[in-house]
């Protein structure tokens, strides 16, 4: 599957037709709702009263719908005006509000305004530059430092994103760690290509350790703590021994038995390594 991030700015990709498609696609609705549920679970909110949640990259409001069902008020930001137009047509939205903004330029809110923050499938857009003036790392840091400001102390943020490469996941978590967040990336279903989801869980609490990702089998994950030391559990592909002398001789023997005529003779050069300079 090609990545929409590579085709240009989010505001251009999610135009009117694309936004409407997105909002009515039942597969998309299901996935977004499921991810938002999981994000809420990771957010560990105090459910005894309605919370005020910031939704960055709210799109057509699919995630906001889940927040409302959970009884929370929310404020959504998105860079695509067409997505927001679709969201504002949603009549059921009684607890949400929208604003048109680019998260790479900071967040236009007062300090400590929100009880929590979620972002569904949006963060990876910051890793791409659409003009010479956009530096991904600078945009990421600006976003995270603004986020650090607008959350109330003790709040958490959960950002689900699709990293193109493991390096992107590391870059994102490093930028978050740089501004003072603790936390890390939770990977759900790491062994499934389709169900695999990355959640960056951020907290103010230095001693915060991220919850375990959901999994069907074994787990591999990315973790970054506030100290900035990143450790990646890399799945090392098991390397075979390669074509050894025994392997070659065995193969030739098999071919001779099969009756092939052009099998090279075994000589002292068989299976020998060439000199490096060759």
């Amino acid at each position: 599957m090609s990545r929409p991030e590579l085709t240009g700015a989010a505001a251009n990709f999610y135009n009117d037709t694309e936004a409407r498609k997105y909002d009515t696609n039942s597969r998309m609705i299901g996935i977004q709702a499921e991810i938002t549920q999981r994000a809420l679970e990771l957010l560990q909110l105090d459910d005894s009263f309605p919370n005020f949640i910031l939704d960055v990259g709210c799109g057509s409001g699919l995630s906001g719908k889940v927040l409302e069902e959970a009884g929370h008020y929310w404020c959504g930001l998105d860079v695509s005006r067409d997505m927001l137009n679709v969201a504002s047509e949603r009549e059921t939205s009684t607890k949400g509000d929208l604003a048109h903004h680019d998260m790479g330029t900071g967040l236009p809110f007062r300090a400590a305004s929100f009880d929590g923050m979620i972002s569904i499938s949006a963060l990876q857009w910051l890793c791409y530059s659409n003009s010479s003036k956009q530096v991904p790392k600078r945009r990421l840091v600006r976003f995270f430092s603004a986020l650090y400001g607008v959350l109330k102390r003790g709040a958490r943020a959960v950002l689900q994103f699709y990293p193109e490469t493991p390096e992107q996941a590391v870059l994102i978590s490093e930028c978050a760690a740089k501004v003072g967040f603790a936390g890390g990336v939770v990977v759900d279903y790491p062994n499934s290509t389709k169900a695999k989801k990355h959640y960056l869980v951020l907290s103010f609490d230095r001693g915060y350790s991220t919850p375990k990702g959901l999994q069907s089998a074994a787990q591999a994950g990315v973790r970054v703590d506030s100290s900035g030391s990143s450790k990646r559990v890399k799945v090392v592909k098991k390397k075979g021994k390669g074509k050894t002398k025994e392997w070659i001789e065995h193969k030739k023997e098999v071919q001779r038995k099969k009756g092939f005529e052009n099998v090279r003779k075994d000589t002292k050069f068989t299976g020998r390594k060439r000199k490096d300079k060759f």
Binding site: F52, L84, K95, L98, H101, D102, R110, R138, K152
Partner: protein
């Protein structure tokens, strides 16, 4: 745009707060279920008691929208000039006013104006445009 959002918004350029509202279209959308005199106002109460509502922001917005609010016919939505304490006699009615003002009144068309440098952010179809121009973004 609800006034709750206005209450949390500040200028992305100068961090000036609160933003001045000029408004050409205002709408009252009652929340569901309909609020009664008793509430539930737990959301507003919680915001207020945790100091998350900037009182000057609310009264300022109330002042900016004075004429339009009168046209809405939802009462005059008067608020005390300073933040009331939970044991003041008309606390519940203040909460109700606050609930209507912050959550049920929507600014559909208008502008938000940064009081420091006069930069206007347009509100179109209820969505404020806080996007910065290329040359306004600090490097």
């Amino acid at each position: 745009m609800r006034l709750l959002t206005h209450n949390t918004l500040q200028s992305p350029l100068t961090s000036s707060y609160p933003l001045k509202i000029t408004c050409t279209a205002l709408r009252h959308i009652p929340s569901t279920p309909l609020t009664t005199d008793e509430g539930p106002y737990d959301f507003v109460r919680n915001l207020l008691e945790n100091g998350k509502i900037e009182w000057d922001g609310v009264t300022g917005a109330r002042e900016d929208l004075k004429d339009k609010i009168e046209e809405l016919a939802v009462g005059d939505l008067q608020l005390p000039s300073s933040q009331p304490s939970p044991d003041s006699p008309d606390y519940t009615s203040t909460l109700k006013t606050l609930h209507i003002l912050l959550l049920e009144v929507h600014v559909l068309e208008g502008t938000l104006i940064d009081k420091e440098n006069g930069r206007a952010f347009k509100i179109d179809n209820g969505i404020p445009n806080m996007i910065l121009l290329e040359d306004e973004i600090e490097r």
